[in-house]
């Protein structure tokens, strides 16, 4: 129950300023009415947000990103639920190794994965396709989904399932009527977290995306390489607003503190 001293509070304020400054500056510059990068001193304007819609490449990349995130998160969750139940509920040979394998994409640098997938997809003829993007995204976001679903299944009282079985429910009925509803918050949050990670990914995707099939962050990254103008600020600001919206959803579903600090990482 000790209070922070004045030095600590000053440090804290500077720290927050450091963290928020670049994010805020993007959001503010996006509202400029000028044709060049500047703070909106001449009044706020939405012209650069309108410009996103007029730029077919950004509009298509945005649509593709949404679709990619939704499809790959759904697939990742579908693979994660049975795997999480196996790991949480059973003691079996190779359990540790399997868990480590499922979480290993967190340890492999995305640049390496990008190169590996580029090589792989080129060889099997999936290079530059949407299917390739989905498959690679499933691999990198599965650990996030798995972790939350695993935490939810580990935290669940096993005897509840036993109670259902003792009342005559089959395994499938028990899963559908008892287990799934109980781990649903974990599953839903796992989906959202996976979606955010897919939506934000750039390092790996830049290797496997093609000019026709690409994501918004990759399009943004390539655009920034050539020039920085208010349009990219507006796109970035939109990305930030979307992420904040997703964060609010996650906070409602699961509690952001719990999600980020990971109380359930058994």
């Amino acid at each position: 129950m000790n209070r922070n001293g004045p030095v600590a509070l000053v440090f804290h304020m500077l720290f927050l300023a450091f963290l928020l400054a670049p994010i805020l500056v993007v959001c503010v510059v996006a509202f400029t009415s000028q044709g060049y990068l500047s703070l909106p001193t001449e009044g706020l304007s939405l012209r650069w947000f309108k410009a996103i819609g007029d730029n077919p490449e950004f509009a298509r990349a945005f649509r593709d990103s949404l679709l990619l995130g939704a499809v790959s998160s759904t697939i990742a969750v579908a693979f994660s639920v049975p795997a999480a139940l196996a790991i949480a509920r059973h003691q079996f040979r190779g359990r540790e190794a399997i868990t480590a394998l499922f979480l290993s994409p967190l340890m492999v640098p995305h640049i390496v994965l990008g190169i590996a997938f580029l090589r792989f997809f080129t060889q099997i003829g999936l290079g530059g396709t949407f299917a390739g993007l989905v498959l690679s995204h499933v691999v990198i976001i599965l650990p996030f989904a798995l972790r939350l679903i695993l935490a939810a299944s580990t935290g669940m009282d096993r005897s509840i399932e036993n109670a259902a079985a003792s009342l005559g429910a089959t395994s499938w009925t028990t899963f559908r009527r008892v287990t799934l509803p109980l781990i649903l918050p974990g599953v839903a949050s796992g989906w959202v977290l996976a979606f955010i990670n897919s939506f934000d990914e750039v390092t790996m995707t830049v290797f496997i995306a093609s000019p026709e099939t690409t994501t918004l962050p990759v399009r943004l990254f390539l655009y920034i390489q050539d020039n920085i103008d208010p349009l990219v600020a507006a796109v970035s600001a939109s990305l930030i607003f979307m992420t904040v919206a997703a964060m609010l959803v996650l906070d409602r579903l699961y509690g952001l503190e719990r999600l980020l600090v990971g109380r359930g990482q058994e």
Binding site: N2, A86, L101, V108, R119, V138
Partner: protein, 310 residues
């Protein structure tokens, strides 16, 4: 803490019970866990292991400007990387940036985590969200923010010149300083997270106990809090170092084509020079370095602190 311990002892006792069960009793459903994890296992075998092995093999091929990738097996790419000064400079720079970023993150992140813990709700939860929330925001957007702040007519230089601290703009763009500042910003939440987790395990009464025994507040911090947080700082450092050493988007945007690091080098080899085998070799080295650092350091930390923390 007591609830956790109770939970743990329960886990242990149930473990003991299953161990003491008669060995010849057949398992009821030995196949179930394998069947349940089979889909994900198959997916990972095809989509993770195969591509990585193929990359490893690719790194052994050779490349000719006119002939393209040649199907010969040799270590030429690795020898090139090890012997060429050009590569030395880039790898050294990558290492230097990663070390400085890790130190900065530790110096900034660890105190911030401690300050956060001493805050009261609702401020604590709110500030924690502000600190950790950026982790979910696209790296490109965050780095773009720094690019806007850094430019010679950017906000930092304009402000510094307006108050008369500097006469000419400081070069942040395309410099190591700029890359280090932006990477520290991108990665410091991981350090806060890691230290925060180790602070959560700290019994809040321990600080009061030290005070009651006559320790001054600074002594409490140095002798009681810090030693218990060191594992958190170390594991945070491992994460930050690994991510800084393999970072791509931030050095690519702030460092540009002029200031190359390992990841941007691999990118150029792949998408500009089209020397895939060399790029693959760089990637494999990055991967190995990453695994050695993460696994090796984790082992070390665990062994060092096993006696004290479980």
């Amino acid at each position: 803490m007591t609830a956790v311990d109770a939970h743990k002892s329960m886990m242990e006792s149930s473990d003991a019970a299953s161990k003491s069960a008669p060995p010849d009793r057949p398992e009821r459903r030995p196949l179930a866990p394998y069947l349940l994890s089979l889909p994900a296992l198959a997916l990972f075998a095809v989509l993770l292991l195969v591509p990585l092995v193929m990359t490893g093999l690719l790194s052994l091929n050779s490349f000719g400007f006119y002939t393209g990738i040649e199907d010969v097996w040799q270590l030429g790419n690795y020898i090139d990387i090890v012997t060429d000064d050009y590569f030395h400079e880039i790898f050294l720079r990558t290492f230097r940036i990663a070390v400085v970023v890790t130190l900065l993150c530790a110096v900034l992140g660890a105190p911030e985590a401690y300050i956060l813990r001493r805050m009261r709700s609702p401020w604590r939860g709110l500030c924690l969200l502000v600190v950790l929330g950026p982790l979910l925001i696209s790296v490109v957007s965050r780095t773009l923010g720094w690019a806007l702040l850094f430019g010679s007519t950017g906000i930092i230089n304009t402000a510094l010149m307006a108050v008369g601290l500097i006469a000419t703009p400081i070069e942040f763009m395309y410099t190591e300083t700029g890359v280090i500042i932006a990477l520290t910003h991108v990665l410091v939440p991981f350090m806060v997270l890691s230290v925060w987790a180790s602070l959560q395990r700290l019994d809040p009464q321990v600080e009061n106990a030290a005070l009651s025994l006559g320790a001054k507040p600074f002594t409490v911090l140095r002798r009681v809090v810090l030693p218990q947080v060191v594992p958190g700082i170390l594991s945070g450092s491992i994460i930050v170092f690994a991510l800084a050493a393999s970072a791509f988007a931030t050095p690519a945007i702030i460092g540009g084509r002029r200031l190359k690091v390992a990841a941007t080098l691999a990118y150029d080899e792949f998408l500009n020079t089209l020397n895939w085998p060399l790029g693959a070799a760089i990637a494999i080295l990055l991967l190995l370095a990453n695994i050695v650092i993460i696994v090796g350091c984790n082992r070390l930390v665990e062994r060092r602190y096993k006696q004290v923390f479980e």
